[in-house]
């Protein structure tokens, strides 16, 4: 519609954001990052961590740590401050989430925890879903490629930094990203080569600050950035003004040049 009428249109769109964890990372830090990134807001952020890309040397250990903590997350009514994770926003959204869990199982991913709604007692009055972790996910699986928008994390094993970045970039989306490593050189290369509008080093994929540009590349968005100073460029347009106070008709070079 905007295109047809030549009106400015600013789009946000989605993400399939990944956290890379290399062998040299602080694993406890990476763990806190992925738990918050994947299950905060019940995974319903466009910047949510939905892929965990782990170097082989620490894959088993880290994924084990993630599963153990995911099982213990307190899910319930958000008004009760002892709860950490609320419900899915609607019945329809929860069905979509569960649909993807079934797809993941059919595709051969290993369901490590969760994978079903929460039922019984107060849970029956809401749209609660168990925090879910899949292991041995490969980049071509649908659960690794399509945005689920719920508490479902896909874990992918890679052999080295190059493969980690390749797998991270292997998506039509490009909103947020993160890398956990203690190697400053690899962190710098990651910043350069990751295809995303936002990259975090040693922090999760969620938690943008309101005064910096926010938006994605590739199929995420249409080039605009919200937040910070760039939002003001979206909501205004330049007007160029020339004031001629010479009292004569003056011509700029384009009308004067003799070639």
């Amino acid at each position: 519609m905007c295109g047809k009428n030549l009106k400015r249109c600013s789009l946000e769109l989605g993400g399939k954001n990944a956290e890379i964890v290399l062998d040299d990372a602080d694993l406890d830090l990476a763990l806190e990052g992925v738990l918050w990134g994947a299950f905060g807001t019940t995974g319903q952020r466009c910047t949510a961590t939905s892929r965990l890309i782990v170097q082989a040397g620490v894959y088993d250990k880290l994924v084990g740590m993630v599963v153990e903590r995911a099982k213990k997350l307190k899910v319930g009514n958000g008004l009760d401050e002892s709860n950490e994770v609320g419900p899915c926003v609607s019945d329809g959204q929860r069905k979509t989430v569960h649909g993807y869990v079934e797809i993941g199982q059919k595709e051969g991913a290993k369901l490590l925890c969760g994978g079903e709604p929460l039922a019984g007692g107060a849970y029956d009055k809401g749209f609660f879903y168990k925090p879910t972790v899949f292991g041995d996910v490969t980049p071509s699986m649908r659960i690794a490629r399509e945005e689920i928008f719920g508490p479902v994390l896909s874990c992918i094993r890679v052999k080295d930094f190059e493969e980690a970045v390749k797998v991270l970039n292997d998506t039509p989306y490009g909103l947020s990203s993160s890398i956990y490593t203690r190697n400053v050189n690899l962190a710098m290369k990651a910043i350069e080569t990751i295809e995303a509008g936002i990259t975090y080093v040693n922090a999760p994929t969620i938690g943008a600050e309101c005064h910096l540009p926010f938006g994605g590349v590739k199929d995420t968005g249409n080039g605009h950035r919200e937040g910070g100073w760039t939002a003001y460029d979206i909501f205004s347009e330049p007007k160029t003004v020339y004031i001629d106070y010479s009292g004569a008709l003056q011509k700029a070079q384009i009308d004067n040049a003799e070639y």
Partner: protein, 215 residues
């Protein structure tokens, strides 16, 4: 006990022309009815757009720092109502209170940024090729912006759009997410109470599909 919410057009609260409403329930406890909201359609949007168009010239002519001062006052309202707004957001969206408090805080911070930015809407002056001639670039607002927002950041994302848009001198029609309309009501109330003139920001509630059929 349900609240009856109304569209906000030209500074007035009005029902959808069809008179239809829909229920907004708590996804953690569907017994909790947050409120009834208008099921608007394209004709309601048309009224809102007309109001926003009519309000535009005067808002555009208001000096940016004066617009920024109204944004700042709106953040004072949000600061005072932060807990109340967070509770409403948790009830209609589901995320925990810690997160909805953060959501409201993000709107506050975006508003404070907007207030400051209203005095920094810089253009650029560069030398002209010619003597006795001045060349520069200034910023202009664009007119009426239509905004359709998601439900996952029920106050923060509307604030990302409304604060910069209004500070630049545009007027707006916002269609809140069908699932999280009450939080937008709170946000726009803060703007209105802070002195945003009638018609500068308008709310049309309803489903995106029904409202979009204006083309």
């Amino acid at each position: 006990m349900a609240n009856n919410y109304l569209n906000f057009i030209n500074g007035k609260h009005v029902p959808a022309k069809s008179g239809k409403t829909y229920e907004n329930r708590n996804p953690a406890d569907t017994d909790d009815l947050v409120g009834l909201f208008p099921s608007s359609d394209a004709s309601d949007v048309a009224d809102a757009v007309a109001a926003a168009k009519a309000a535009y010239p005067k808002w555009k002519a208001t000096p940016a720092p004066a617009r920024g001062e109204i944004m700042r006052r709106a953040t004072e309202k949000l600061i005072a109502r932060k807990e109340e707004c967070a509770r409403i957001a948790t009830r209609e969206m589901g995320k925990v209170l810690k997160e909805t408090r953060g959501d409201v805080q993000e709107a506050i911070d975006t508003g404070l940024y907007a207030a400051g930015e209203s005095r920094r809407l810089w253009g650029t002056v560069v030398p002209s090729e010619l003597a006795n001639k001045m060349a520069y670039v200034t910023r202009q607002p664009m007119g009426v912006w239509g905004m359709i927002c998601p439900w996952n950041f029920p106050m923060a994302i509307p604030s990302w759009k409304l604060f910069p848009a209004l500070t630049c001198g545009n007027t707006a029609v916002i269609k809140p997410a069908t699932l999280t309309p009450a939080t937008v009501h709170e946000f726009v109330s803060a703007l209105a109470d802070a002195g945003v003139p009638a018609g500068v920001v308008n709310i049309v509630y309803g489903s995106g599909a029904a409202v979009a059929r204006r083309c």
